[in-house]
């Protein structure tokens, strides 16, 4: 390990704060900041979920009058989908796995007393929180929230006159995303530095738990991707308010010249998807790392192919920056580049498949304990396969002709980037709750939550593939105008009912979370009999994580059922195993 390690540690061994504000609000402690991120994401996910429910209700009962909202108009529907997508992608899928659990557990798992830059860490959270407030404010301004979708393609998103919500609401939307990018950039720097510089003695890179590898690679992706989105956002803001024409050519809206000239709408798409595709991996990589970990812990078996898993994640991260054009096969981009992007996209399926093989290899001939985190990890694998398998359809431009912008795409990314990642978040919650709160969550409630979520998820998103094959386009607020959609309404109705049940199931989780904080069964320091460093320290961990001493690591993270050992797990801090097993 690096020289200067002890000096670095000494600098971080600051005393715990005593005032309530410094302890719980403007805290420098990565554990408190992690929880702040987590509860921000929890708030966001319930907002996003309610928005999706309103959309599903509107699709089936278009003239229903809802309490408070009244009738949902076409533009309201588009605002709902824009805000649902934006909130879910940024404030849930990017925030909870990385900002939440990454912040809380990366330092502990690598044996550090805190993140490398605690003040920066606090700042990144509060900038993100501010971004969320600005985003929500878009609902309450004149004209309401924007209707341009989470991808915000100009000229629609660049012209105030292109529709309701494209005034102040759209400005707030862009500002919120720009703020979010700033927060994410600061956070990414912190994660990378912490992983490289703050590992405990003996914690070599190849002894890091796969969760840490995932957070580390995610941070690198974030550093490279969010800067591009930030720039694009600023350019869009200038186009909207300062009369520039980065993204808008000479166009007329309702017979009026819009006053722009010479810009390129495709430029935005390139910048947006240069961020947007790595973003998919930013959302899913932490879940991959975590589920790899959980499958090993609860099969009581070493992870199958640790190095292959690390290399697979690295290749996903690397290739993730070369595939953005597959979102643009129908955009007017050169068809020759489409061919190149298509090859790269098919190639990125390979490391994803390697991971699936290794997950199956991990549970093979193991001894599976069906705890709640394990159920969600197995559910994750199932969803990852189902969502992944539709990828090779969309990656081929020839098939994308029919499937692009249909529900097939919506089903694909909801299964893999949406729900699979969220299963990762649930698994992480059930797994680490005992360490965070010193109590266990209720296992019976967790099982109900799991089965309702798994079956419900498939019931909502699998039919979307059928819809997409039949040509059902996404972002349609009414299903009455095109004749060929009429026969598909029963399927939409089924999905709405499935959404009701699935969303109801999430309140079981919410109840379990808060109830267990107070009334859950007391947890021991290592209730799952796992090997990584967070389970060697007190529960909840003290301010400096390890109570004054620094752990020394002797073993890899996944030593389960080692022949000849008394227990079926060997802690990373236990005396070194003899090589040659």
């Amino acid at each position: 390990m690096a020289t200067g390690e002890f000096a670095a540690h000494a600098a971080h061994a600051h005393a715990g704060p005593t005032s309530w504000i410094r302890k719980y609000v403007f805290s420098l402690d990565h554990k408190v900041i992690g929880m702040q991120y987590y509860f921000l994401a929890l708030t966001a996910v319930f907002v996003g979920m309610i928005l999706s429910l309103l959309m599903r209700i509107h699709l089936i009962w278009p003239d229903a009058t809802l309490p408070l909202l009244g009738e949902i108009k076409p533009e309201t529907y588009l605002s709902l989908l824009t805000m649902h997508g934006t909130i879910m992608v940024f404030f849930v899928l990017t925030t909870a796995p990385q900002g939440g659990f990454g912040n809380y557990f990366l330092p502990i798992q690598i044996g550090a007393p805190d993140m490398a830059f605690p003040v920066l860490n606090m700042l990144s959270f509060w900038v993100t929180a501010l971004a969320f407030i600005v985003m929500i404010a878009a609902f309450f301004v004149v004209g309401g929230a924007p209707l341009h979708g989470w991808t915000g393609y100009p000229p629609l998103s660049a012209l105030q006159s292109s529709g309701p919500g494209e005034g102040l609401g759209a400005d707030l939307w862009v500002i919120s995303i720009a703020l979010f990018c700033i927060g994410a950039l600061m956070s990414a720097l912190n994660f990378i530095t912490t992983t490289l510089d703050m590992r405990a003695k003996g914690m070599t890179m190849m002894r890091m738990p796969l969760t840490c590898w995932a957070w580390f690679i995610t941070a690198i992706l974030g550093l490279l991707a969010f800067g591009v989105l930030l720039s694009a956002g600023i350019l869009l803001l200038l186009d909207r308010n300062a009369g520039t024409s980065f993204f808008v050519p000479l166009v007329t809206i309702n017979g009026q010249l819009a006053g722009h000239k010479g810009g390129s709408p495709l430029l935005w798409q390139h910048l947006f998807w240069f961020f947007g595709h790595p973003e998919v991996y930013i959302a899913i990589l932490p879940a991959m790392g975590l589920c790899s970990q959980l499958l090993s812990v609860f099969s009581r078996k070493p992870i199958f192919g640790y190095k292959a898993m690390v290399y697979a994640m690295l290749s996903i991260g690397f290739l993730g920056f070369m595939v953005w054009g597959h979102h643009m096969f129908m955009s007017g981009m050169s068809p020759y580049t489409a061919f190149a992007f298509s090859i790269m996209t098919m190639a990125i399926g390979v490391p994803s498949a390697i991971k699936t093989f290794n997950w199956l290899g991990t549970i093979w001939r193991g001894r599976i304990r069906f705890t709640s985190p394990m159920l969600f990890a197995l559910g994750f694998v199932s969803l990852f396969v189902s969502g992944g398998i539709s990828g090779p359809f969309l990656a081929q431009p020839v098939l994308d002709i029919q499937l692009h912008d249909t529900y097939f795409v919506v089903g694909h990314f909801h299964l893999i980037m949406g729900v699979a990642s969220i299963f990762g978040i649930f698994a992480a919650t059930y797994y680490w709750f005992p360490k965070m709160y010193g109590r266990m969550m209720n296992e019976n409630l967790a099982r109900w939550h799991f089965f309702i979520s798994l079956i419900g998820t498939y019931a909502i998103f699998m039919p979307m593939h059928y819809l997409g094959m039949a040509g059902h386009l996404r972002r349609y607020s009414q299903l009455t105008e095109l004749n060929y959609l009429h026969g598909l309404v029963p399927l939409q109705t089924f999905m709405t009912y499935a959404a009701f049940v699935t969303i109801a199931g999430q309140f079981i989780f919410l109840f379990n979370l808060f109830w267990s904080m107070k009334f859950g069964k007391k947890a021991s320091d290592n209730p799952w009999e796992a090997t990584t460093l967070e389970w060697t320290t007190a529960t909840p961990p003290p301010h400096d994580n390890f109570g004054g001493h620094m752990p020394v690591v002797n073993n890899g993270p996944y030593e389960y059922s080692v022949p000849g050992e008394a227990r079926d797990f060997v802690m990373q801090t236990d005396p070194a195993l003899v090589k040659g097993h």
Binding site: P249, S299, K301, V350, L375, I389
Partner: protein
């Protein structure tokens, strides 16, 4: 619990697969030259991916049940950190499957998008605007006249809506319609334009989709092979009326097309 999980995962898999195999919901019937090739490749991809999907889910469910913790009745856990031969085998196999699939479809993509329309193709310019499609035909001279954004006035409809420059001699015989007519079995060259925001011209039965982007004139082609009326939809979010931006493509016999063309040109005189 292992058994419950096996049953749930298998049921989800078999029910999902049933609807794919039964083709309860499927691609609309194809009506263009390209459709057969595209649909065939769709089926190939779908059989291969479907097999992977079912195999992976069935194995996942089976392993979950088979290797459940049965206390002292459980066999010894296999202490292994992996197997390089296996890793290399499945990496190579997946690579061949995925990239191979891609190369299989590349010739269709090339004929759809690399090759320009043949000379003598029927020319139609398609203009998208919030929230309508207009179709322009070049008239007897075979040439489209110029258009100017400052002349675009949706409320005027027709030639006015697309901003036709009437001072251009080539525009004199151009005519604009709200329904797209094309003759069967002839290649149609489509020039796609948009006036305000991005739209996307989607004709499911023709296996045809292409964005219409302001500032660009995108040249595409397709060849209808069955007469009939086909729905045109907008597939790129273009504003609050996106859902109702649709049109009709009428594929008629050459004879009917000529009659229709003559009538339109006569109106223009």
């Amino acid at each position: 619990m292992g058994l419950v999980l096996l049953v749930v995962i298998w049921l989800i898999t078999f029910i999902s697969a049933y609807f794919f195999i039964a083709k309860t919901w499927w691609l609309p019937a194809g009506a263009s030259v390209a459709a057969a090739g595209i649909d065939h490749h769709f089926s190939t991809t779908y059989i291969l991916m479907g097999a992977v999907f079912v195999a992976a889910q069935v194995i996942l469910g089976y392993f979950a049940w088979k290797y459940r913790d049965r206390g002292s009745a459980s066999p010894q856990v296999q202490y292994t950190h992996g197997n390089n031969t296996l890793e290399i085998t499945w990496t190579v196999l997946t690579l061949i499957l995925f990239v191979g699939l891609n190369f299989m479809s590349s010739s269709i993509w090339a004929s759809e998008r690399f090759r320009p329309a043949a000379p003598g193709a029927v020319q139609v310019e398609v203009t998208g605007m919030q929230f309508a499609w207009y179709f322009r035909y070049p008239g007897p001279d075979g040439k489209f006249g110029g258009t100017k954004p400052e002349l675009q006035d949706a409320s005027a409809g027709g030639e006015g809506a697309i901003g036709l420059d009437t001072t251009d001699p080539a525009s004199k015989d151009d005519f604009v319609t709200g329904t797209m007519y094309v003759p069967v079995n002839r290649e149609v060259e489509v020039v796609l334009r948009a006036e305000d925001v991005i739209h996307s011209f989607f004709v499911p039965a023709m296996r045809f989709k292409q964005d219409a982007v302001p500032g660009l004139a995108i040249h595409m082609h397709f060849t209808p092979i069955t007469t009939g009326d086909y729905e045109i939809a907008c597939s790129q979010l273009c504003g609050l009326g996106h859902y109702k931006m649709h049109g009709i493509l009428k594929v008629v016999s050459q004879e009917d097309y000529d009659k229709w063309l003559a009538a339109r040109e006569a109106e223009k005189q």
